[in-house]
């Protein structure tokens, strides 16, 4: 446990300069916007004169120099204040906190399912690399991973929601249904079924391929031959020796993919009209709301850092060599 905590602290501390770079670069990029949120706002209310624009800018602090605004932003960030959303007329932090749980539910379920199914199928394929089973699974996973998630979402939507009418097409729950407890949970589950299924199919393919590739490599190692020389059952060799070692690169891949998966939530939430974090990003873009967009990017970075820290702990738990000093020849 000590080993894991030490590693965790070192990684957490190392993440701070990176987060700082993210904040500064994002801020600089978004401030380069030609035409800011005030312009967009004015456009949406049908125009306004220069005086109104000027006073709006002053009230939102948008008329100061870049460096001053950056400093202001950093100091408010330290107080966990993410600024004000001009498009929604609410604090950015509130918006994000409101939308984030839906996305976490969506991504969390999809990740868990795709990891479980993907690695299980990967073990089936990797149990005998080059076999017919392996070739079929590898081909299927290749095609699945090539499918754009938003298109798959649309197709599943057409089949299951439109044609068969088994599942709802959009939203996270039936609005104003007044359901509570288990009934509400079931309703949300029905609404999330298609988006989760879409993401699961795509990411499962990735995990399948990584597990299978990892196992193919581990089969070449000597300790597998040693296990065979002990006459162990095939199941034990495949699971406890080969797959158990192939799990390591798979867990690493999970960490590496976390950022991509968070990004992928944007299109999926758009298709299924899920009021989540990703959808918020799209709305920030159309509303030219730089404060909101900056806040979203910063929070995404923090989430990815946190996920990676968690993955590091899991990896250290799975691999006893991590963090240990080498003793002996």
């Amino acid at each position: 446990m000590n080993r894991a905590l030490r590693l965790l602290r070192r990684r957490a501390v190392g993440s701070i300069p990176v987060l700082l770079i993210v904040v500064v670069l994002t801020f600089l990029l978004l401030e380069a916007a030609a035409g800011d949120a005030v312009d967009a706002y004015l456009l949406s209310i049908g125009g306004g004169d220069a005086a109104i624009a000027q006073s709006l800018r002053a009230s939102y602090g948008l008329d100061q120099s870049m460096a001053a605004r950056l400093w202001l932003y950093l100091s408010s960030l330290a107080r966990l204040d993410l600024g004000w959303s001009v498009a929604f007329d609410r604090p950015v932090r509130d918006l994000i906190l409101e939308r984030l749980p839906n996305t976490l539910l969506l991504m969390g379920s999809a990740t868990a399912l795709s990891f479980a199914i993907g690695s299980a199928l990967g073990i089936v394929a990797g149990a005998r690399p080059g076999s017919g089973r392996d070739r079929v699974l590898s081909t299927v996973s290749l095609v699945l991973y090539a499918i754009p998630s938003f298109w798959l979402g649309l197709v599943l939507s057409i089949v299951f929601a439109v044609q068969l009418r088994w599942l709802p097409t959009s939203g996270i729950e039936t609005i104003a249904s007044g359901r509570t407890g288990l009934s509400r949970a079931a309703d949300i589950a029905a609404h999330l079924a298609l988006p989760v299924a879409t993401l699961t199919l795509v990411y499962m393919a990735l995990f399948l391929r990584v597990m299978r590739a990892g196992m193919a490599e581990v089969w070449e190692l000597d300790f597998v031959l040693f296990a065979q020389s002990k006459g162990l059952s095939r199941a034990r060799i495949v699971l406890r020796h080969v797959a158990r070692n192939a799990l390591l690169p798979l867990v690493t891949m999970l960490g590496l993919q976390s950022a991509a998966m968070l990004g992928g939530s944007v299109v999926i939430e758009s298709i299924f009209a899920i009021p989540g974090f990703g959808r918020l990003a799209q709305e920030a873009v159309s509303g030219r709301d730089t404060a909101l967009l900056t806040g979203i990017i910063v929070v995404s970075a923090v989430l990815v850092i946190l996920v990676n820290l968690a993955i590091d702990i899991v990896y250290a738990a799975l691999d006893p060599r991590v963090g240990a000093s080498e003793r002996g020849a």
């Binding site: 300069p17 990176v18 987060l19 770079i21 993210v22 670069l25 994002t26 990029l29 978004l30 380069a32 916007a33 030609a34 290749l142 095609v143 991973y145 090539a146 499918i147 754009p148 998630s149 938003f150 298109w151 649309l154 197709v155 939507s157 057409i158 439109v162 950022a259 991509a260 968070l262 990004g263 992928g264 944007v266 299109v267 758009s270 990003a281 799209q282 873009v285 030219r288 730089t290 967009l293 979203i296 990017i297 995404s300 970075a301 990815v304 850092i305 990676n308």
Partner: protein, 276 residues
């Protein structure tokens, strides 16, 4: 070349290269295969596919030819995919070489920047970039490249670090080669193969990202792309799902072709007997 022949001997390489060749030809000869502006109104609205020989894949809400859209859309996808991958690789190689060579505090600082770009979800980054600068093909290419250069940078640096200490580099130094010359003559050729393997993956990801951006309405509005076709088809999803299905199939085929090509390339590169 020998590499090409090895590539074609693998089933993945042969199929992948074949498909890509067809796609490239379609993209190249789009104006010939589907003359005129694909966004012009060509016929009756919402013609079903496989019914009218003039419009083999049907028409959309405004009567635009779906097949023409797909054929012209191939240009965007392939162009953006390749350009973004090249840009990402170029940036990544430079940063990786610099970091691997310089070492010390320069290396540390550059790696923190690489970390920063890897932590931010690349799609969000592309989204923000396009929304700020404006949607046009060069901007989309740059936006995707910004999200993709971090991995090649990291890989290049790892390769440089491992190659830098090898004997043939030391001998070059002893002979008196200038460091920059060493970088290009000795180190780069040995760093390239794994980075090139990554290239195909980046192309595939770039194609998908471009499609997603256009789907959300953030692509170049003046040209037709597969993503915009799918978005357009979404409006009539219930009545005419084929409008969204066909461009999606085109995407799948293209990306599968890239993956197959990359697998074939990987096999051909690794089966090469003991180079360097």
């Amino acid at each position: 070349m020998r590499l090409l022949r090895k590539l074609l001997r693998t089933p993945e390489g042969a199929i992948g290269l074949g498909l890509l060749a067809v796609l490239a030809l379609v993209a190249l000869f789009a104006p010939v295969l589907a003359p005129g502006d694909p966004l012009r109104i060509a016929g009756r609205a919402l013609t079903a596919p496989f019914t009218d020989p003039a419009f083999p894949l049907g028409t959309d809400r405004l009567g635009r030819d779906v097949l023409a859209g797909i054929v012209h859309g191939a240009r965007t996808s392939l162009l953006v995919g390749l350009a973004a991958a090249c840009a990402a690789l170029a940036i990544g190689l430079c940063v990786g070489l610099a970091a691997g060579f310089a070492g010390g505090i320069v290396d540390e600082a550059l790696m923190r920047v690489v970390d920063a770009f890897q932590i931010v979800p690349s799609f969000l980054l592309a989204l923000a970039f396009v929304s700020v600068i404006g949607a046009s093909v060069p901007v989309v290419v740059l936006a995707i490249a910004l999200g993709a250069w971090a991995d090649p940078a990291r890989l290049t640096r790892a390769q440089v670090l491992s190659v830098r200490e090898r004997d043939y580099v030391a001998s070059a130094r002893v002979v008196g080669m200038h460091p920059v010359e060493i970088a290009f003559r000795e180190i780069l050729p040995n760093v390239l193969p794994p980075v090139l393997a990554l290239a195909a993956i980046i192309v595939a990801a770039a194609i998908l990202t471009e499609a997603a951006l256009s789907f959300l309405g953030l692509g170049d509005p003046n040209i037709v792309t597969w993503g915009s076709l799918i978005a357009e088809g979404r409006n009539v999803l219930r009545s005419s799902p084929f409008l969204s299905v066909f461009p999606g199939l085109a995407l799948v085929v293209t990306v599968v072709a890239v993956y197959l090509f990359s697998e074939g390339l990987g096999k051909a590169l690794s089966s090469r007997g003991g180079a360097a």
